[in-house]
Subunit: 198 residues, 2 copies
DNA sequence: CCTTTTCTAACACAGTTGTACTGCTATGGT
DNA sequence: ACCATAGCAGTACAACTGTGTTAGAAAAGG
């Protein structure tokens, strides 16, 4: 048998090259050739792994979404109540280099609101997952006295969810004005306030 | 002298053609030819008004930002306190067709966080203006008993500002899941809550 | 060592892109 | 009436794009 390569790992590797191009040059910077060069290979080789450019883009975006999803699915490291909820929410914020990369790439793919096709579908999944993660965080709060009994969990999610994405957006676009500590502080302040009466 | 055209109006007209292309096909849909066709003219004519594509893009984005800015600067129509604050904040949300168009176009230009040049500068101005508008809204609240004395105005802005942009983001990307009424309701609920103790 | 499979590079090609340039048209001042 | 010129269309061109095609290299089994 001929040489064999870990197929999934290879595709992931090429997707990461696309991420780097997107972060450096924006979504317009993506081309079969530029991504191939970034990955240290050729356009022909890239085509061996992804039949079309759209397939590469879809795979790359899905890889980002999956990575965040995996972090969200992991059991919380011995935390409970408010701390557990914050841990969960912070998985969706650009608080370190890895999460910043994820947010930037994801943002780059948002420029076409009405887009159709696989990319739109992936975004739809990501959106639903994000909202569910926020809902899970609110449930963690509610189960541990972190949510005041007079507060409606659904309303708490309605506010917390856009707040999280808004913070992610600002911190990604203006990391100097809205650094990780600021994002974390605003989030913590609000989550702690949820323990009080409305 | 030869025939003369309202130069600024003509440029604005072409910018609006670019908006339509961006909304229909996304930021990638922009090309000298596609925008010219959308405006019912030729690529050569477009070049007569904008030396380069970047100049056209910058002018178009600035036009969006200016339009929102003008609405924010207009004196409030006989409102005060909470209602005035809400009116101000709602100018930045995609609550009708015009504002939805603005938000979509602006979002389309956000895909390159680290971008440099005029586009980045315009975005910087828009970001600062948005934040100041939110701060103005909070001041309106504070001056009319809409902000509880135990609340810190700066903290209120720190939360309200990303909330507004997060709502705008969600409503633009998922108008079906987050329609105008939902956005308005979440915003009103939070602003009214600011009158209570923290 | 040799065969077979997998992988890669290189080239080909048609289409699109931004920009430049040329010349035509119509208009307002003289 | 005349014509200088703003406005515009059309063409040209080099660069780059995505996608095919083809031939060769690399590696694991016999």
């Amino acid at each position: 048998m001929p040489r064999t390569v870990d197929r999934e790992a290879r595709r992931r590797e090429l997707a990461e090259a696309l991420w780097r191009v997107v972060r450096r040059e924006g979504i317009d910077g993506i081309s079969v050739r530029s991504v191939a060069a970034e990955a240290g290979t050729s356009a022909g080789a890239l085509r061996h792994w992804f039949a079309t450019q759209d397939e590469l883009a879809a795979f790359s975006l899905r890889a980002v979404v999956d990575r965040v999803g995996e972090r969200l699915a992991v059991s919380l490291p011995g935390l409970a109540g408010v701390e557990a909820a914050l841990f969960l929410l912070e998985q969706m914020l650009p608080l370190d280099e890895q999460r910043r990369a994820e947010t930037e790439v994801y943002l780059a793919f948002l420029g076409r609101p009405h887009a159709e096709g696989p990319l739109r579908e992936i975004r739809g999944v990501a959106e639903a997952a994000s909202r569910q993660a926020v809902a899970a965080a609110v449930r963690l709060l509610a189960g541990d006295g972190g949510l005041h009994p007079d507060r409606d969990p659904a309303s708490a999610v309605d506010l917390l969810y856009p707040l999280v994405d808004g913070l992610a957006l600002h911190s990604t676009l203006w990391p100097d004005r809205y650094p990780a500590e600021h994002v974390r502080a605003v989030l913590r302040a609000h989550v702690h306030a949820l323990a009080g009466p409305p």
